[in-house]
């Protein structure tokens, strides 16, 4: 079963302390929301978990293996996939090629045709099967988000981090993304979801992490976290004003 442990993560950019002593553990297919005001350190934390940034101090372990020293591709192969705040489809490649990349990268001897059936299933699940031979740049913003989610299914990690999956998405596509998260989670994949969409994050997640200026100020059941005075003061209170 999945176990991801972040121990005492600090991150400084020059004199700026972006993360201060952040520790948490994810066990099994949890569905976690990560919230916090702008500049709280959410994306920095994501980049550290993913290997794109090295922590100033602290460690990250996944299933007993240390991953904070690995490059991003090593973390991906260890079973952690992520999306980016700004959609990053491979724009001058077809939708199908976009999906084949993670599948091929995971297996050294793989051939493209081994994964075409799986890619087709993923595209159908995400309702963009008709676009499979289009260049990714021809897709709308929301469809490109779906494509990114599809790539993660092809990577087939144990844990998925989504950075703002609902930002700027049409309500109908939002339904698809919502279904993606709940169904993929039910199949045993853990999620950490960063979002500013409070209603969605409170209904979707079963555990909430709240960052405020680099401090992890709350970690627990969304209903409980919502009533936490620290959280209210730091974040939710501002929202209600």
């Amino acid at each position: 079963m999945l176990n991801l442990t972040a121990n005492n993560i600090f991150k400084n950019f020059g004199g700026l302390e972006v993360l201060k002593d952040v520790s948490f553990t994810v066990e099994g297919p949890e569905l976690i929301g990560l919230i916090g005001p702008n500049g709280a350190g959410k994306t920095t934390l994501t980049n550290i978990l993913d290997g794109a940034l090295k922590p100033s101090s602290g460690t990250v372990y996944m299933n007993g293996e240390r991953i904070d020293t690995r490059p991003p591709y090593g973390v991906a192969r260890a079973g952690l996939g992520r999306t980016f705040q700004v959609t990053r489809a491979f724009r001058r490649m077809t939708v199908l090629e976009n999906l084949l990349i993670p599948a091929m990268a995971m297996r050294a001897t793989a051939r493209q045709r081994d994964f075409e059936k799986k890619a087709q299933d993923v595209l159908e699940f995400l309702t963009i099967a008709h676009l499979r031979n289009e260049y990714a740049r021809a897709l709308s913003g929301g469809q490109q988000k779906l494509l990114e989610l599809g790539r993660l299914l092809m990577l087939d990690p144990q844990m998925i981090i989504l950075d703002e999956p609902f930002a700027g998405v049409h309500p109908r596509l939002m339904e698809v993304i919502y279904r993606y998260i709940t169904e993929t989670n039910a199949q045993g994949k853990a999620f950490i979801i960063i979002s500013h969409d409070m209603d969605t994050i409170f209904t979707l997640s079963r555990r909430l992490l709240v960052l405020n200026y680099g401090d992890l100020i709350a970690d627990g059941d969304p209903a409980v976290v919502r009533e936490d005075p620290l959280v209210k003061a730091a974040y939710l209170g501002e929202d209600e004003e």
């Binding site: 993913d50 794109a52 490059p71 991003p72 591709y73 991906a76 192969r77 996939g81 992520r82 980016f84 990053r88 489809a89 491979f90 724009r91 001058r92 490649m93 090629e97 084949l100 990349i101 993670p102 091929m104 990268a105 995971m106 793989a110 493209q112 159908e124 309702t127 099967a129 008709h130 676009l131 031979n133 289009e134 260049y135 740049r137 021809a138 897709l139 709308s140 469809q143 790539r151 990577l155 109908r172 339904e175 279904r179």
Partner: protein, 433 residues
């Protein structure tokens, strides 16, 4: 005919024509009314040389997105390595005592020459050894041309590895500046080290086939034509295979977005270094072969103008495809020569040997302004992807049971919305073409 079959037939036809062209050369008496002079054959060889450079550069810049200006430097590394081996290395059956002797297997020795300039005459230690230390009957053997060319490839690959590793974290402008710097340093070093490289006067190389081949003399254009054509075809076959494999998929992903590729499990360091090594080796191979064909290599092949020529060929043909880049190179090599014909209109006399570069520059500017993907690539795209938009629309229009189910369960179908979506997709597809 489907696009893949069409391309295969066209490719096979092109290969057959290229193989048959020497039959029409003046050396073989021509083919009916078609007689190709030695000059045309020379142009063809040069065209293949540039086609190898432009297509391998397109693999590096167009596929992997690594805009290197050092490609001609690797070409020169191949040529100079092969030339220097020919100049400084001999094999003998006895130690010379006066040169640097390295024992090989059996009674063979590898001798590194030490060449002194006495007045205007180059005096090598081996010449002295012949009269002084070497026993009578000692065999002195030149390194075979193919072996020195092979060493050129090894050096190209080694420098490709080194530069590839050094530029790993450099992007766009910085990579371009770094590689320009590398190229200039190499040019300056070659120009300065006159005792080794002969500097600006150029390093002489033995002919590709010193003893001739199959009855053709060492100055015949036909054996070099086939040698360069063979290298060109092997390079294209290799790059075609690479571009169609996981390697091609990954380097294009790196071009599009390095971080995203890494987050999806692609070892970007490995593939960036690999693409540098492979393309540098191809450039070095072309350089070594061309050096032996021409018989001399000078540091001027490294000037930025030469590199720009290769880039312009790839850009005008179509940077993102090895075939369009190579056809661009072949067409432009011939075009630049055809444009040498001077024009006289009434009292106006245009010296085209000077003005042709202006026309060439103009063509490059117009291509970059109006056809950024090159002049040939869009045609290729139109043939290979012509059916995509129609396919998208037809799949979209087909009833999809799963989707209908979802719509029914979660919210009522929203007719107008869906149409708007489909139109958006069609719009994108149209603009894409």
């Amino acid at each position: 005919m489907n696009p893949t079959a069409l391309f295969r037939v066209a490719g096979a036809a092109a290969v057959v024509i290229l193989l048959l062209i020497p039959l029409a050369s003046s050396e073989l008496g021509g083919l009916g009314p078609l007689v190709l002079s030695g000059y045309v054959m020379h142009l063809a060889i040069t065209a293949f040389f540039y086609a190898i450079l432009a297509s391998s550069w397109s693999l590096l810049a167009g596929y992997a997105g690594q805009f290197s200006f050092g490609h001609m430097a690797f070409m020169a590394i191949g040529g100079y390595t092969s030339g220097l081996i020919g100049k400084f290395i001999r094999f003998t059956t006895a130690p010379s005592e006066l040169c640097t002797d390295i024992p090989l297997f059996g009674s063979w020795w590898l001798v590194v020459l030490n060449i002194r300039r006495v007045g205007t005459i180059d005096e090598s230690c081996l010449d002295m050894a012949k009269t002084e230390t070497l026993p009578a009957g000692t065999l002195i053997v030149f390194p075979p041309v193919w072996a020195s060319i092979a060493m050129g490839l090894v050096m190209g690959a080694t420098f490709g590895l080194l530069v590839g590793w050094l530029v790993l974290r450099l992007r766009s402008t910085y990579l371009a500046l770094f590689t320009i710097g590398f190229s200039e340093i190499l040019r300056a070093s070659i120009s300065a080290e006159i005792p080794i490289t002969e500097g600006q006067s150029g390093l002489e190389l033995v002919p590709l086939f010193p003893a001739g081949l199959l009855g053709f003399s060492s100055t015949s254009k036909i054996p070099p034509y086939y040698a360069m054509l063979l290298l060109f075809l092997v390079a294209m076959a290799m790059m075609t295979w690479l571009a169609g494999s996981r390697f091609g998929l990954f380097i294009r992903a790196i071009r599009e977005d390095e971080e995203a590729a890494a987050a999806l499990g692609v070892n970007i360091v490995r593939y960036k270094v690999l693409v540098f090594v492979i393309t540098s080796t191809l450039a070095a191979a072309a350089g070594a072969l061309q050096g032996h064909y021409i018989g001399i290599i000078t540091p001027n092949t490294l000037i930025i103008l030469q590199m720009s020529l290769v880039i312009a060929m790839a850009v005008i043909g179509g940077l993102e495809n090895i075939y369009t880049a190579s056809v661009g190179a072949i067409v432009i090599t011939f075009m630049l020569e055809l444009l040498r014909t001077n024009i006289t209109i009434g009292p106006l006399h245009i010296d085209m040997t000077l003005w042709r570069l202006v026309f060439f520059g103009l063509l490059l500017m117009l291509t970059l302004r109006f056809q950024r993907n090159g002049l040939l690539y869009p045609i290729l795209e139109r043939i290979s992807r012509g059916g995509v938009a129609a396919e998208t629309v037809s799949i979209r229009a087909a009833p999809d049971e799963d989707e209908v189910d979802v719509e029914d369960e979660e919210h009522p179908p929203s007719g107008p919305d869906e149409n708007a979506d489909a139109e958006a997709v069609n719009d994108h597809a149209e603009s894409d073409r």
